[in-house]
């Protein structure tokens, strides 16, 4: 084993329930302090703040211990709210642990979500220097890296434009380029590839590989299991703040996939009020139902059959041109099919209160297997209001009973379904330019 880069020893972080601790007013705090001086004195005497009542807190991370060797690329996977981002925030010293400790050797460069430390009013160039300064880099060093960064990000023409005019993809490109080129000893990347296009994702993965080959350590969080598989030889799995698996990536992914609750049943209303989500939450998905509408097969969707998705939304504000959308993802989180009111140009307003929305896919081009259904709602400017990734797992079933017909292995045969025909072309027919169309004995499936 080479030297260690990161060591965690029972690292734990406790948060208060509710999205954030209540941000009260100073006036309230002072009146309360004046009204009950006794309690406050006692609280001061006890370990400051440690004695908060247990019942309104929970552990976002609990007794997590592991070690990462120098030059290792570690994947971190787990469901929404499992504590992945919390782990990265602790390691990049953005927030302090409640108990336990960690040791990190060398400079840490972190890229947490898309909004890194960029200032919207400053140009791309200034922001590169700002980020370098945050990482504690010398000006001269940043200058020596500057061209490589700009080239990697592919934003040459816009480098002197304030970044508030960048598209979110450009923003991300530049942010990633800075983090990955300023050569931190430990590179921490949280769920950022989701925004870039496929080509850039490829580039990022390549770059992270280079960084690792250079003997630097990478911690990589992603819901895109395919990317984790490609990049990381070792991964850890977090579940409700606990470390439940640590080992070879494919093994950990297998365990992760196996740990999913049974797929949500088709043809039944599934409550989403308590599901983990992101977004401003001024309107929320309350429930969803999906199915083929075919009672004979228990409403289960099947290849080539229809798929109907009905969602309920409870809104506390009205939206004029809401963007309601869904994305079907493969079991590794790779997006397959998506649709939205926005893409179709549907301009139905979202009223305050309850409303339900429906998507109908005439033919579902998916082979049997488990898929993730993601639901999202954005306002007319595209700002996320509510997003559940995934809202549920759904199973596409084969209509033919097991044992008959071909058996598909998604790894080799792909997961897309399409109607096609195949057969031997009659021997007499030769392919000639301008020849008659071949008549063939075909078998249609």
């Amino acid at each position: 084993m080479t030297a260690l880069a990161i060591r965690l020893d029972q690292l734990s972080k406790q948060y208060r329930f509710g999205a954030r601790p209540r941000r009260r007013t100073l006036r309230e705090a002072l009146t309360e302090a004046a009204a009950s001086p006794w309690r406050n004195l006692r609280r001061l005497a006890g370990a400051a703040g440690r004695g908060t009542t247990e019942d309104d807190t929970f552990w976002a991370l609990r007794d997590v211990s592991f070690e990462v060797g120098h030059g290792e690329v570690l994947g971190v996977i787990g469901r929404n709210g499992a504590g992945k981002s919390t782990l990265l925030k602790l390691l990049s010293r953005i927030t302090a642990p409640t108990s336990g400790r960690a040791e990190v050797w060398g400079r840490v460069g972190s890229l947490l979500e898309v909004g890194t430390g960029f200032h919207p009013e400053l140009t791309g160039r200034d922001n590169v220097y700002l980020n370098g300064a945050i990482l504690g880099m010398e000006r001269g060093y940043i200058t020596s890296r500057f061209d490589a960064i700009v080239e990697f990000a592919g934003v040459e023409q816009f480098i002197d434009t304030p970044v508030k005019r960048y598209s979110s993809g450009m923003y991300l490109r530049l942010a990633f380029a800075v983090a990955a080129h300023l050569e931190p000893d430990v590179l921490i990347v949280d769920e950022v590839l989701a925004v870039g296009d496929a080509e850039f994702q490829q580039k990022c993965i390549g770059r992270m590989n280079e960084v690792a080959c250079d003997g630097r350590t990478v911690l990589f969080v992603s819901h895109n299991l395919g990317a984790v598989q490609r990049l990381c030889t070792r991964s850890i799995l977090l579940e409700k703040g606990n470390l439940v698996a640590d080992g070879e990536t494919s093994e950990v992914i297998r365990q992760y996939l196996a740990s999913h609750d049974t797929e949500a049943p088709a043809g039944r209303w599934i409550d989403l009020t308590a599901a983990p989500r992101t977004g401003s939450a001024s309107a929320r998905f309350t429930g969803v139902q999906y199915g083929s509408g075919d009672q004979l097969v228990d409403f289960s969707p099947h290849p080539g059959g229809p798929l109907e998705i009905v969602v309920g939304i409870d809104a506390s504000i009205a939206l004029n041109r809401p963007r309601v959308g869904f994305t079907l993802r493969d079991r590794y989180g790779g997006p397959l099919i998506s649709g939205s009111t926005y893409a179709l140009g549907v301009a139905t307003p979202l009223p305050i209160g309850y409303s339900s929305w429906r998507f109908v896919l005439e033919t579902l081009p998916l082979r049997p297997g488990p898929y993730q259904l993601e639901l999202w709602l954005a306002d007319s400017m595209g700002a996320s209001v509510d997003r559940l990734q995934p809202a549920l797992w759904m199973e596409v079933f084969d209509r033919q009973p097991r044992g008959f017909g071909p058996h598909y292995n998604p790894r080799h045969d792909g997961i897309l379904y399409c109607e096609y025909s195949a057969g031997r072309v009659e021997a007499a027919v030769r392919h000639r330019t301008g020849g008659e169309p071949a008549s063939a004995a075909t078998q249609s499936r």
């Binding site: 390691l91 060398g106 430390g117 030889t233």
Partner: protein, 305 residues
């Protein structure tokens, strides 16, 4: 399905996986970097000056950024820094100089008022900037690590630019009205300004840490600044206070700043060293307590921001 297809597929997969052995040999790397220990916050806050110093690059960058953003964004740009004290001087000269006939140590009231307003404006804009520094930079605070104390320090330095502009205006007005600046101003103004900076930073640390947690602090700050201005000898001379109260006035560090600034520049009175000494002690106490308070709240900044 097809054997051939499956076989090729598998081979392709093999090639693209990267072994961990591909990492560069250890010897080629620079010596092993020092480690950082991450643990629960200490019971007693500590101020790591060495670390702060190593982040001076970031601090200067933030200063430069604030200045650039400020002047690029506001329509009036730099002229704002001129207009603000000039307009205030006009108002005060009319109200206090003409109507209320407040004495002004024998110099034109407008010069008197502006010579108080220039250091005061520096102080109040430094204080405002420091107090809002965390809230205005939540995107940095929640996304990257750096010693948080860098944040309130930057606006203290940035406000110097406005001060220099205001100071130039003051000199022009003095020359126009025939008041000659003294030579000792060069020597004595820097320490007096440093006193203002220390006070602004100390109070700014308190406000910044409270601001991120309590929403009403933002609304209370302008009141505080306003009250503070009228309890400092900005628009009236210190000599207007009853004699027996004057020693106590020095507990307000801005009394030392304003009185010291006037004495140094206008030479109407001897330098009030006694007042400045008391003010400095108070300012130092505010700074130390503010920085410690800031450090003790620091760990929750990212969680509550």
């Amino acid at each position: 399905m097809s054997e051939d297809l499956t076989g090729r597929h598998a081979a392709g997969l093999e090639q693209s996986t990267r072994g961990p052995s591909a990492a560069a040999p250890d010897g080629a790397r620079s010596p092993r970097p020092a480690s950082v220990i991450i643990g629960p916050e200490r019971r007693w806050p500590r101020i790591d000056l060495a670390e702060l110093w190593s982040y001076r690059g970031l601090m200067l960058f933030l200063v430069w950024r604030d200045i650039k953003v400020r002047y690029a964004q506001t329509v009036l740009g730099a002229s704002w820094a001129i207009l603000q004290p000039v307009l205030a001087t006009v108002v005060f000269t009319v109200v206090f100089g003409r109507f209320a006939r407040i004495p002004s140590d024998g110099i034109p009231y407008s010069v008197f008022a502006l010579s108080g307003l220039v250091p005061w404006t520096y102080f109040s804009s430094a204080l405002n900037g420091a107090g809002n520094s965390l809230v205005a930079n939540t995107n940095l605070v929640t996304k990257v690590y750096f010693p948080r104390l860098v944040m309130p320090v930057a606006p203290i330095l940035g406000a110097f630019v406005d001060f220099l502009i205001g100071f130039a205006v003051l000199l022009v007005m003095m020359l126009a009205l025939g008041v000659t600046p003294t030579a000792r101003a060069l020597l004595f103004i820097p320490p007096v300004l440093a006193l203002a900076a220390v006070t602004a930073l100390g109070v700014g640390c308190w406000l910044a840490a409270l601001n991120i947690q309590y929403r009403d602090v933002k609304h209370a700050t302008p009141f505080l600044v306003q009250l503070w201005m009228y309890s400092s000898p900005v628009v009236y001379p210190l000599s207007l206070l009853p004699h027996r109260l004057q020693p106590y006035a020095a507990f307000n560090p801005m009394v030392g700043v304003i009185a010291g600034f006037r004495a140094a520049l206008l030479g109407t009175a001897p330098m009030p060293w006694g007042v400045i000494a008391v003010s400095s002690c108070v300012a130092g106490a505010i700074l130390v307590s503010g920085a410690l308070f800031f450090r003790s709240r620091e760990r929750v900044f990212a969680d509550v921001a």
